[in-house]
């Protein structure tokens, strides 16, 4: 993917750019709002990582200007501003995702990769299949080797979110955000409990374990031929 990183803190931008490049992405860095907007408007990026507080032009202004040009490149907003409803403001201004500082680099990489997927394929509910597992999001039916698996509503949503982002890492806070609709860094192993119950149900019938734990980051379903 081609990623634009707009961040004025050289240490953070260096560290983030390095991590994204290690994952095989191309990263351009802009260190103020004006340069960021120029880059964003001219280049064809798959994802833009935009700091909220920038010299010259505030991050939210950059975002608004970009959206006014009918550019819908997915934007991940980074912000160190606490409390003040920052997340809602950022999303309302046209941001696609929000990450509060301090963040873990795994979290940022996972979110950028999930945002990059959205660009190509809209979230249309289609059927997913992974080996002998099939998920029908409309009928809310999961089968493995033709046998139906009963999942709670929450378990189904976890599985669906992982399936939609198959091949990418989904972090615990991403799960909390999309499955529970609460946004914060969970710092507990409670989500692991939910995932492990889901795993047990999926793997009870037998077959290869489906959901992988990605150390220090989260979970992932590996993409495989149907």
């Amino acid at each position: 993917m081609h990623i634009l990183l707009v961040e004025d803190d050289v240490r953070i931008s260096g560290y983030v750019a390095k991590a994204l490049r290690e994952e095989g992405h191309m990263v351009d860095v802009a260190s103020d709002g004006k340069a960021g907007l120029t880059h964003a408007a001219s280049g064809s990026y798959d994802v833009i990582v935009l700091d909220r507080m920038l010299p010259q032009l505030d991050g939210l202004r950059v975002l608004q200007a970009l959206r006014a040009m009918e550019d819908d490149t997915p934007v991940l907003i980074l912000s160190a501003l606490g409390g003040a409803d920052e997340r809602v403001l950022g999303l309302r201004a046209g941001g696609d995702d929000y990450l509060g500082k301090p963040f873990s680099i795994e979290e940022l990489v996972a979110r950028v990769e999930v945002l990059g997927r959205r660009r190509g394929q809209p979230d249309l509910p289609g059927c997913y299949s992974f080996g002998d597992l099939a998920i029908d999001p409309v009928a809310r039916i999961v089968t493995r080797a033709g046998k139906r698996i009963d999942l709670t509503n929450r378990e189904f949503r976890i599985l669906e979110y992982l399936a939609r982002n198959a091949g990418r890492v989904v972090t615990r806070s991403m799960l909390l955000e999309h499955v529970w609709d609460y946004s914060f860094d969970p710092q507990t192993n409670i989500i692991d409990q939910h995932v492990s119950r889901l795993r047990q149900k999926l793997d009870r019938i037998g077959g290869e374990p489906l959901i992988e734990t990605v150390r220090g980051a989260g979970y992932s379903i590996r993409r495989r031929p149907a």
Binding site: G83, D85, R154, F184, Q187, R197
Partner: protein
Amino acid sequence: MTLLRSLSFRLALLYLAVFAGSVAVLGGLFYWIEVARPLAEIRSDIRREITALHEVHRRDGTNALAAALDARVAADAPRGAYHALLDARGEPLTTNLPSWPQAFAPGWKRIEADIAREGDEDEYEALVLDMELPGGLRLLLGRDVDDIDELEESVSDTVLWIVPALLLLGVCGGALMSRVIGARLDAISGAARAVIEGDLSSRIPLRGASDDFDRLAATLNLMLDRLEASLEAVRRVSDSVAHELRTPVARLRAALSDIHDRPAPDGIAQALAEATRLQTVIDAVLRISRIEAGRHAIARRPVDLSALLADVVEFYLPEAETRGQRIAMAVAPELAVAGDGDLLFQGFANLLDNAVKFTPEGGTISVAAAVEDGAVRVEFRDDGPGIPQDLLGRVTERFFRAPDTAGTAGLGLGLSLVAAVADAHRSTLAFPGSDGGFRALWQFPPGTD
């Protein structure tokens, strides 16, 4: 000049100017009512009399006029009547005036009308019209205006003496007022300067008069109390954070130094674990201070607290079931509060996290919520060991851990975060003791939804 720059002195001067102005206006009004208007009336009376006397003179001759003049003096009138009728040579035909100006000059004049009446010599002042009559006669006709003159004099005395005296007194009073108020203000700015110089314990002395200044000083002192307390809290927090970080940093250092001497994979894993723990502590502390710093700007959207509590319980259900615990829920439907749903979820999740952590296997945790006296009241209760009564006041301190929970994982930051969230929502969080287990009572005052 400092006196002129003093607000109280300027206010005193302003007040004085207004007061002097009112005295002048009142004096003028008094002059018009008691002096100018009666004099004008007297003039028009005299003109009317003259018209009548003219008529007498034209019809009945000079003698009849003289008789009419004498009769006018004898008539009982509120004001003494004066006249002098002179012939062409200037000799009086009839008069009751002691003297008059010899040269004829038509118009109004003031004449001393000293009159001997029943042995007493009185000084009177008369307003007289000097005029010519046909046949070379000269008539001076007037009325006594002595009382009006006296009034006029007293009015001008007032203006001449009272106003300057007033000005003098006012300036002195203003200066005095400015000094008194200035002294009170100096006390306040003195205390403020001491605070600026770093003495946060400095306070403004109170007079005990409970006047405006005392009330202001009391408010400012209260503000200083709060500031001092919160600075003290900040100092304590940074102390405890530093203290809390020392141990993991020391362990990390030891692990790294081991690896340095003798590279070993388990040493690296240990160092990583210590670094992760450090990061966790720092993130948790940061999160709490963010909530505290942003507490004036948190979202105030309607939150369905019943649904939120159900989500929290559902979130912890697998963990509780794994531990063989039961969560009993008694939450009234459609409880509404205003706030930030994400923060509230974190807060309630932390309460439940503690309950699940400390309740023994097979124990029960109860979550209850209802409206009571207009307030939404949420209660969490568990079967755990609880916390000794004397320590309940300290549970929201950062890094507080109950003494006998050394074996249980935890940073001692969970309830600090709950307290920060409760404070940000202007709700109250209390930990009333109970016979067994831990009890948390979170109340949202009415009007927060």
